[in-house]
Amino acid sequence: MDSDRLTHMQDVTRRYGKYRPCGAGLGVLWGGFLLGALALMLLEWAWHEYGVHATASQTLWRFLRDTRLTPPGWLQLAAVISPFVAWLGLVLIQQWVDGRFGAVTLDATSECPPWRPRGPQWLPPVMVVVLACALGGVMVWDGQAFSRGVLALLAIAAWTLVWGRASRDRLTLLVMFAVSVPSLYVIASTDPDANFTAGNLLIFATYLLLMIVLIVQGLTRFRGFLRVSAELSTLRPVEE
């Protein structure tokens, strides 16, 4: 068996293992869809409140800045379940991808090219937990000891421990980060003493921008996955 062929098999394996995580990049589209849907719901609700309660001279921004608004139950529910639905969707997409050619897990050290700065893989989940605890603390501080909102924040923080431990793929972790953080802010805005709604629009805009960057990375990954999949189909069999 010639060494070129063996090297090619190794190369195909490495590339497949590199492009496979996060549902071969398709998981990002799922995360983007969820975040986009949540952003639309928030915007629709804010626009509706603006139409009903704003005075004639108030702009939308000024209205949201000056008015204490509490998100309705359906929006709170959507925010709470988003991180759960996002992760379950990612798992299902990954299972579908792995069902075609099987899973290949690379060594943690070989996943990132040497020229790219390596961020610690635990950072996105830890940031979500810290933020959930901080926002929960603010709510408790405002006198709502263990209200429904605080429990929802703690549930999202606990869920973070599940997805943070289950994946070490940077793209997957960032998608979950981008879906979880805006949800935390929607839930935190149920605090009647806070006025988060205007800020939430900015937070959603920021995370949607992050998601667009991630979607570009996801599509690049998917393109690589399609290439390596096509290559897998054309490999000559080993002599038996």
Partner: protein, 105 residues
């Protein structure tokens, strides 16, 4: 000189020298863990042969096997052991020694 070369050839690890097993170990050496289905696709071996060769490698201590489920579908995964990695490196060193040296330009 010929005797030494002959002895080296006879000393080659037969467990690895077989093409199917060499291909399996080579693929496994590129990753931390590889599923049966991927090995099947990349080597083009039949299910029965791949299974038999993997069992031989496992018996030799070169490969570890893990069985699990993806949903309801049973999934078998393989990883190369440190002994397998060492044996593969030794095999490549031996093979390189057999090759005639390239004339310098």
């Amino acid at each position: 000189m010929k005797d030494t070369a002959l002895k080296s050839i006879l000393d080659v690890d037969r467990m690895i020298h077989e093409p199917a097993r060499l291909a399996i170990l080579t693929v496994l050496s590129a990753a931390e863990q590889v599923e049966f289905l991927f090995l099947l696709k990349v080597t083009g071996l039949s299910k029965g042969n791949l299974s038999a060769q993997a069992q031989k490698l496992e018996a030799a201590g070169y490969v570890e096997t893990t069985k699990g489920f993806r949903g309801r579908v049973p999934v078998t995964s393989f990883r190369i052991t440190p002994a397998g990695r060492k044996a593969l490196a030794a095999y490549h060193t031996q093979m390189r020694a057999f090759l005639p040296k390239q004339p310098s330009k």
